[in-house]
């Protein structure tokens, strides 16, 4: 068993569906998507035009699914897709696309280019043209349980830490709890504040929740690399655990693509509706605040801004919630240009942050974010995605900027009114 060109071509044929066929046939070659892509605007290289990244897939569609294309193929007028070509396209489909979805927003004919890139990655992965680093991460996710190699004992260590710090008992494997909390491995390793903040907020709000031993990892490398079979295996761990524990809702953590994987792709991968809801942590916090269960006091006096993670705002629709939450605790909130659904990506989503060789390109693309942050004049940047946070911190470090990045949940917990245990 190994990846071959034939498998890749077959996968391309398999992923071409009615939306893709109509997108390709309605593309008017206007090039507007280029201006929406940070890899194009920051490099001015035409090859980073989003629709161009799909060229091999477009040719397969044309040759296999259109009358003229079939004739052209028969007469040898159109060149077949080759390994060499796919190898050339690998950096375009992976390194320079964060699946941020900004191109899909500007397409005048409504083509969801991001959807097509996601599908194209299926053929790229099947033909062995996925970046090595992503293959390694996916292998760890399948074999170990987490793309960063995190295992349950690491989470247990975290739990003990939280319990020692806050005195709050972190519930594990509690059947019948309302919420199942899952995390990204970055939150387990890099940002332990998240679990601590969540425990305190949920205690104050009286939320019944639990962690699951076999489903603590929310990220899904299968989605990023483009291997639906593996993505299904990863997402099913959470689905099985949630249904075993009979929770009403699974809370997607401060991680962009985990939300996409769980909320949007998951039921399609499983081929059935879930028996529970999926909400992003910001949606849950917003609901708690609306219900008066999230009490804060005081406001952060630092000027601060909010970076909308693409998968949460643009692709996920969670735009108003962080603003409502911030309005309660921020005295000087400054909106970034293009904030909300048109926000610029941090440059590391869609698996790009895992690709080592993409780092110089990623840092170049970060210039747009740098300009955006500098225009607001703040030194405190709030976000709600651990991956955005790491990529932002790297970019900030690289550019010697004096900006601190904080997760929104964590900031919220700092202003929590903690009542004495009743």
């Amino acid at each position: 068993m190994s990846a071959t060109l034939a498998k890749g071509i077959s996968a391309f044929k398999e992923v071409i569906d009615a939306p893709i066929a109509s997108f390709f046939s309605s593309c008017v070659h206007c090039g507007l998507c280029a201006e929406a892509c940070l890899f194009y605007t920051e490099t001015s290289e035409a090859k980073y035009t989003p629709i161009h990244k799909l060229e091999p897939l477009r040719r397969i569609w044309k040759q296999e699914y259109t009358l003229l294309g079939m004739l052209g193929k028969m007469l040898g007028l159109s060149k077949p897709v080759t390994d060499a070509e796919l190898a050339e396209w690998e950096p375009l489909v992976y390194d320079s696309c964060t699946l941020c979805g900004r191109c899909s927003m500007v397409c005048p004919v409504g083509n969801d280019i991001t959807y097509m890139i996601r599908k194209m990655r299926e053929g790229m992965a099947a033909s062995g043209h996925a970046p090595e680093d992503m293959i390694a991460a996916t292998t760890r996710a399948i074999n170990i349980g987490s793309p960063m190699g995190v295992k349950w004992p690491a989470v247990q260590a975290q739990i003990r830490h939280v319990q020692a710090d806050t005195g709050i008992d972190v519930p594990v494997e509690r059947e019948g709890a309302d919420y199942l909390v899952v995390m990204s491995s970055m939150e387990i390793i890099n940002f332990p504040e998240y679990l601590s903040a969540l425990s305190r907020i949920f205690k104050q709000a009286g939320v019944s929740w639990t962690l699951a031993q076999d489903a603590f990892e929310a990220t899904n490398s299968g989605i990023q690399i483009g291997a639906s079979d593996l993505a299904r295996e990863i997402v099913s761990r959470i689905v099985v655990a949630a249904e075993r524990l009979k929770v009403k809702c699974v809370i997607s953590p401060e991680c962009g693509h985990a939300f996409t994987a769980l909320r949007w792709e998951g039921p399609n991968l499983m081929g059935r509706p879930y028996g529970f809801e999926v909400k992003h942590i910001l949606e849950v916090l917003d609901e708690l605040q609306k219900a008066g269960k999230l009490k804060t006091s005081g406001k952060d006096k630092r000027p601060l801004t909010y970076h909308d993670p693409c998968q949460i705002a643009r692709r996920g629709g969670v735009v108003e919630q962080p603003r409502r939450l911030l309005s309660e605790i921020a005295a000087d909130f400054r909106e970034m240009s293009d904030a909300g659904v048109m926000n610029w990506c941090c440059g590391g989503g869609g698996g790009v942050s895992a690709i080592t060789r993409a780092e110089p390109l990623r840092l170049q693309a970060f210039k747009i974010k740098k300009r955006q942050i500098e225009a607001t004049g703040v030194q405190t940047l709030i976000t709600a995605c651990a991956n955005c946070r790491i990529v932002l911190e790297e970019g900030i470090e690289h550019n010697h900027m004096k900006v601190e990045v904080i997760g929104l949940t964590e900031l919220l917990a700092q202003y929590l009114v903690e009542e004495s245990t009743p």
Binding site: M1, S2, A3, T4, K7, S10, A11, K13, E14, I16, E64, Y65, L67, M70, A125, A126, S127, G128, A130, I135, T138, T139, I142, N143, I225, A227, S228, D229, L230
Partner: protein
């Protein structure tokens, strides 16, 4: 202090005529302001227009009626009194118009000859009705064929106004199979400026507006590609229709007496030709600004457009095909369905084969052997 400054009233001018009829300068200025607005001229032009018109000698006008139904004349003369339209008629000297003139036979034709002689090169020729090019006997006046009368009268005209869709584009007489060989004025008169004022009939104020423009500026207004004044025919009925918001929301009446029709929803699906019809009905309206067809519950039939009579069924939505026969349509549908089925079958089998070839991907499948 209302009339502190009286205009100079010269004998024989429009100003004198108006003064005789007891029309004050204030009323006259109001008329000019309205016309200025309708013609999309700057507001400052109102007083200039008043000056120009009141000092002008009454313009000699010859009105010829050919293959027509007299609807255009009805439209202009049946306006409610006292309106701009009536006033405007005091501004011109209508020297020949067989429906309106008292004279008949020899005397009538004499009036036309006299007007042509006295005002050679200066008179305005208004034509309603199309001109039969088949047998000249299809339509004659005083034994003169329509063609000959038009060509003779056009010779000394300063400009020609083709009133109504028949004179502008041939109209209903030209409708398929066009038994009389009807043509428009513009089809046969090539050496004179022609203003087309189409409509079946045209709106009275559009007529008077064009005349006022001619009197004020001594020339013809800016015209569109079909020879119509842009100030009145610049936008479609649809673009100015008060029911447009319903169209934008996809709210359509499905029949003339359904709930949606009673609620005043868009009549597009009932055949309204508003989207392709350029006219001022939706803005100036009819009968003293009372209403217009769409407002009364009937779609626009597109009467100010060339060949509107042959442009498909009046009660079929614009998106319906018009030029093909049912059998052609049937054959095309069968051929299309067959081609569609064939390509669908092919594409389905391509995709099914790809699906069948799909073996569950494992992590080992992500790496190439030679790598």
């Amino acid at each position: 202090m209302k009339h502190a400054q009286q205009p100079d009233i010269l004998p024989g001018t429009v100003g004198e005529g108006l003064a005789q009829r007891g029309i004050t300068r204030r009323e006259f200025l109001q008329l000019c302001t309205t016309l200025t607005a309708l013609l999309a001229l700057p507001p400052s032009m109102a007083s200039a227009m008043a000056e120009a018109i009141s000092k002008a000698r009454r313009q000699s006008v010859i009105w010829l009626s050919f293959q027509e139904c007299t609807g255009c004349t009805e439209s202009i003369t049946r306006s409610h009194s006292p309106t701009l339209e009536n006033l405007i008629f005091d501004l011109i000297s209508l020297d020949y118009h067989h429906t309106l003139q008292a004279a008949s036979a020899e005397a009538a034709e004499h009036a036309r000859a006299a007007a042509m002689k006295d005002n050679n090169g200066k008179y305005l020729l208004i034509v309603d009705g199309s001109i039969p090019m088949g047998n000249p006997g299809f339509s004659t006046i005083a034994g003169i064929s329509n063609h000959d009368m038009l060509m003779e009268t056009a010779q000394g005209a300063a400009a020609i106004v083709a009133v109504g869709t028949c004179a502008s584009y041939g109209g209903i007489p030209k409708a398929d199979p066009n038994p009389t060989g009807a043509v428009s004025v513009g089809d046969i008169v090539k050496n004179k400026p022609i203003i087309n004022v189409p409509g079946c009939p045209p709106i009275p104020v559009v007529m008077t507006g064009v005349l006022a423009h001619f009197l004020t500026f001594g020339g013809i207004p800016e015209l569109d590609a079909q020879g119509r004044p842009k100030s009145f025919y610049g936008e479609t009925i649809h673009d100015r229709c008060y029911r447009r918001p319903f169209y934008d929301q996809g709210k359509f009446a499905q029949s003339f007496d359904d709930e949606a029709a009673r609620k005043g929803w868009c009549l597009f699906k009932l055949g309204c030709k508003g989207p392709v019809t350029y006219n001022a009905c939706a803005t100036t309206k009819w009968n003293d600004g009372t209403s217009f067809p769409v407002q009364s519950g009937h779609g626009c039939i597109g009467c100010s457009e060339a060949n509107f009579w042959d442009a498909g069924p009046l009660y079929e939505a614009l998106s319906m095909p018009v030029s093909v026969t049912p059998s052609m349509l049937g054959a095309a549908a069968v051929a299309g369905a067959a081609a569609g089925a064939a390509i669908t079958w092919h594409n389905r089998s391509t995709k099914a084969a790809a699906k069948a070839a799909h073996k569950k991907v494992t992590v080992q499948d992500l790496t190439r052997e030679e790598k």
